[in-house]
Amino acid sequence: MSPSQGPVKKLDDKFVDKIGKFVADIKNGKLKGSNNVALSMVTLLENIISESQHATAYELLSLVRSAGRRVAAALPHQLAASNVARRILRAIRDENRASANQSGEASGESLQRLVLATSARRATIGTTHHDLREPLRDHIAELRTELESSSSTVCSAAREHVHADELILTYGASALAERFLRTAASRRYKLILAEGTDVQESHAMAARLSAAGVSVTIISSAAIFAVMSRVNKVVVSVSAALGGGAALLAGGAHAVTQAAKYYSVPVLALAPLYKLCPIHASDDSHFNTLIAPTTAIPYENHEVGDVHVYTPMYDFAPPDHITLFITNLGGSSPSYMYRMLSELYDPNDYTL
């Protein structure tokens, strides 16, 4: 019996309330930043698991899946939240397998056993009725530590990639990129910051970096192509890293990666692993999400009635635009991302 085939379990009212509260917090802007969202999602799922009545693998899987599905339905753009749900699902499956193996025969690792074990992991959940909550607690704690440290781990790679007298270009404001660039501040490199859609945020970030000792030049995003030939490296933070090695970037960043490709400038994409999503370029639901056009044209003009203004939330950067993903496990090339995907998540959980 595979829980991905059965009907979705109906959640208890108290869980529905908790999820609703979580969704409301994000919608009302109390919870911002993908890392914070991921961390509170861990807390939410931990609560749900510890309060669930049954603790068999099947029960827990259905519970976490339906919770994850509910969050994903309400917040399709908080990809980190559904990724966390997938990670926990994987942990439950692993834990179930471990306990099944233990109770069966003595564990002796052999190549044959490893190969056979995968099929057990893929398809069905054993009939064992262990209480998995205790061992899961360790997994969840581990996940939480990973999430907490992920941005510092990513940033610790900064000094490997940014060198003295290099000219680095970044696009728009991003907490992760800012931290990354600040970590490398001792290298005395030069930074060009192309204004993103939120000009004020970009300027504030430039001011903070400048105070940290980085020499920053702000350019308009229209000038990206003109300066690209002089740039040594491009650093951008991704909104989501996709399974095929592509990435979702902030709206407008496609111009950056395209120009970088033209001049063969390396593009470093900062992607902590909680941003790795099992979605592919063919799912178009995320690629044409529109937000308010106020960044492009002010509402005051009465002509707004006659024009169509498209302001996409994300830009899609194909795999060949990205040189290296910097994750918390180190750098990996776009062609290796599919592998990361199967290490982190169970294929049964790609669709929640």
């Binding site: 399709p76 106020t294 009465h302 707004v304 009635g305």
Partner: protein, 646 residues
């Protein structure tokens, strides 16, 4: 949900608009359930309030409160997102007729603990109410008397939010944003001058003038606002309040401020069919983000974006040969057949649209069936209607729910509603109304998004237009109170005419007498006209007619204030009849007086004809007067002439 009661931001939502701009659609359902771009207004406002940091909301319903209550209860049961962070109470009162009554009721019930947000149900906005309210509190620290901060969005002068609504002229002190002058004009007012008193300029170092503000019906209020309404019983609308405060700033010790919204903040109010369309389009174009076509529903991403701001629900089916041109929203489970072309329209859920249908600039609600070869342009069709083959529905036709339109009907600017819900009969309202609803042909050439034009009932008329009320005022003996009232009005007007008082003050006086003697609005209309024709000057004057002309000219603003709706015009005419019978100085002059009123645009032709018919039926004393007969002959000839010249 334990929240610190002291710091919770409170909001009051007035669930009615107290006007008839959306009749007959809101006769059947409350304003809050009117869908804009597929989402009910109540969902927009509740989601906006929850996202704007409001913790407690009071929905104040004057009509259909039970429906609203059920709806809110259902949403809370379904765990709508706003219901988790916000406490929503529904208050009902059937006796409230104006916004002023609502505020007095709120004051009496003591629902407000401190500063609060006051919005109308027709507001669509994405602003952060909590931070704006904080700004208002800062203003209050500087000025203890600050009663209200008005929230405006600056738009271009030609923007439909201004040009199809009442434009505002606002003068304010530049350093403190204190409002000094606030004037509302009639829509499409051709007035080219503004009056700015000299002391406004002299007493402030810098004065800002705004003419291009869109009023989103949002106000941030101090705790003093409800008591102010209670103390001043003539405050009926927010405009009365603003006006009253500005005139009597010293007496009431209150002042007003304003805030302009910044770039990404969107705010607009749905006040009539034109702004309804503008707001619809803005929502489709994502200007109100994060409010979208999916506001209020828990699961998101149910719509597919097809380019050109066309959205379709995942479960709707579109024929391969149908075309969505631009700005189209197609709801769930709707089926669109072959060769149908849709543009700039919103189609609801479970509709069936036949072959070769053209739909442009229209709003079609849920469960509507439209058969083949129909043309629907700039119209509104409510739930469960059936439109048979080959119909043409054009220029602002409004069709209420459960109507069946026969094969081959040609509708132009009509209002249709079913007489009995189960019989599904159709009723054409008096054809005269079609002219009022006619689309403005001159409107920005070729723009098929013009929308619905309507004559402007002034919003502060609280009297629900019940023109069929046969209770003839003449037959009933005049009670004492009304006699005293009439005498008082005559006195005020006579004094006003002699001393050349401002008409605004006279209106105020009449309104206070009205409350003092508890006079119905239609009676007020009647007595004001009656009083105008009974001013003592008339009985003394030699040339009665020229005096009447002068009086009418002088009291034009007073008349304009009372005589606005169809029913009030009838009141006015009845008053003329009454006067002509009772006042000897008007004997035989009725036709000439009507001519004066007609020339002054107080009464219109349709009303005159209807009234004349009434006269004939009732065998009134003046029906055979020479002047009257002559006048109606003249009127008929004039209308024939104008028909020919068309």
């Amino acid at each position: 949900m334990e929240i610190d009661k002291e710091n919770v931001v409170q909001a009051v939502v007035i669930m009615d608009t107290f006007n008839s701009h959306f009749n007959p659609i809101i006769n059947n359902k409350p304003m809050g359930l009117l869908p804009v771009a597929g989402v009910s207004l109540i969902n927009y406002i509740l989601e906006a309030l929850a996202q704007g940091g409001v913790g407690e909301t009071i929905l104040f319903c004057c009509q259909d409160g039970q429906k609203m209550k059920d709806y809110v209860r259902q949403c809370t049961k379904d765990k709508a997102i706003w219901s988790l962070t916000m406490d929503v109470q529904v208050k009902m009162s059937d006796t409230c007729q104006t916004m002023g009554d609502v505020m007095r009721e709120i004051d009496a019930a003591g629902l407000i603990r401190g500063y609060f947000v006051l919005v109308g149900v027709n507001t669509v906005t994405n602003i952060n109410f909590a931070s704006l309210l904080e700004q208002h509190k800062q203003t209050c620290k500087k000025d203890k008397g600050a009663a209200m901060t008005l929230v405006y969005k600056k738009v271009a002068w030609e923007h439909p939010l201004i040009s199809s609504d009442k434009p505002i002229f606002l003068a304010a002190d530049a350093s403190s944003n204190k409002v000094l002058i606030h004037q509302k004009y009639k829509p499409k007012s051709t007035e080219k001058k503004i009056n700015l008193p000299l002391e406004v300029v002299l007493s402030h170092s810098e004065v800002k003038l705004h003419h291009n503000l869109a009023d989103a019906n949002i106000a941030l209020c101090s705790p003093s606002v409800p008591p102010l309404f209670s103390d001043n019983f003539d405050f009926q609308t927010r405009d009365d309040f603003i006006h009253g405060i500005l005139i009597n700033e010293e007496i009431l010790a209150s002042s007003l401020y304003y805030i302009l919204l910044k770039g990404s903040q969107y705010a607009a109010a749905v006040t009539n069919w034109k702004t309804y369309q503008t707001v619809c389009r803005d929502v489709l174009h994502n200007w109100a983000y994060p409010l979208t076509i999916e506001s209020g529903s828990f699961s998101q991403n149910n719509f597919l974006f097809m380019g050109n701001h066309n959205f379709r629900e995942k479960s709707c089916t579109l024929s391969r040969s149908s075309a969505l041109l631009e700005d189209v929203l197609v709801g769930a489970k709707t089926h669109v057949n072959d060769n149908t072309v849709i543009s700039k329209s919103v189609i609801g859920k479970n509709c069936i649209i036949g072959n070769n249908v053209t739909i442009t600039g229209s709003h079609i609600m849920n469960n509507v069936v439209i058969k083949d070869n129909c043309k629907i342009i700039n119209s509104f069709i409510d739930d469960n209607c059936d439109i048979e083959n080959d119909c043409t529905i054009d220029s602002g036709t409004i069709i209420a729910s459960n109507v069946k339109v026969e094969t081959g009907s040609q509708l132009k600017g009509n209002i249709l509603e079913s007489t009995e819900k189960d019989q599904e009969k159709l009723l054409f309202k008096s054809t005269s109304e079609s002219t009022e609803w006619d689309n403005e042909s001159s409107g920005s050439g070729g723009d098929d998004f013009i929308g619905f034009e309507k004559n402007w009932n002034d919003s502060d008329s609280c009297y629900s237009s019940d023109s069929s009320a046969e209770t003839s005022i003449l037959d009933s003996p005049v009670p004492d109170d009304t006699n005293i009232f009439l005498q008082e009005v005559i006195d005020s007007l006579a004094r006003g005419y002699e001393e050349k008082l401002k008409c605004d003050y006279l209106i105020l006086e009449i309104n206070s007498s009205r409350y003092a003697y508890n006079i119905q609005l239609h009676e007020v209309n009647f007595f004001v006209v009656r009083a105008l024709l009974s001013i003592p000057v008339l009985s003394e004057s030699k040339n009665v007619l020229s005096t009447v002309r002068n009086i009418l000219q002088y009291f034009r603003p007073v008349l304009a204030n009372y005589i606005k709706t169809k029913s009030s015009i009838m009141d006015c005419l009845r008053a003329v009849e009454d006067s002509c019978i009772k006042c000897e100085w008007l004997e035989g002059q009725s036709g000439l007086i009507l001519k004066l009123l007609y020339d002054a645009d107080v009464v219109d032709e349709d009303a005159l004809l209807a009234w004349y018919k009434d006269l004939q039926e009732n065998n009134s004393l003046i029906v055979n007067q020479k002047s009257l007969v002559k006048f109606f002959q003249w009127l008929e000839e004039a209308s024939e002439e104008s028909d020919e010249s068309d």
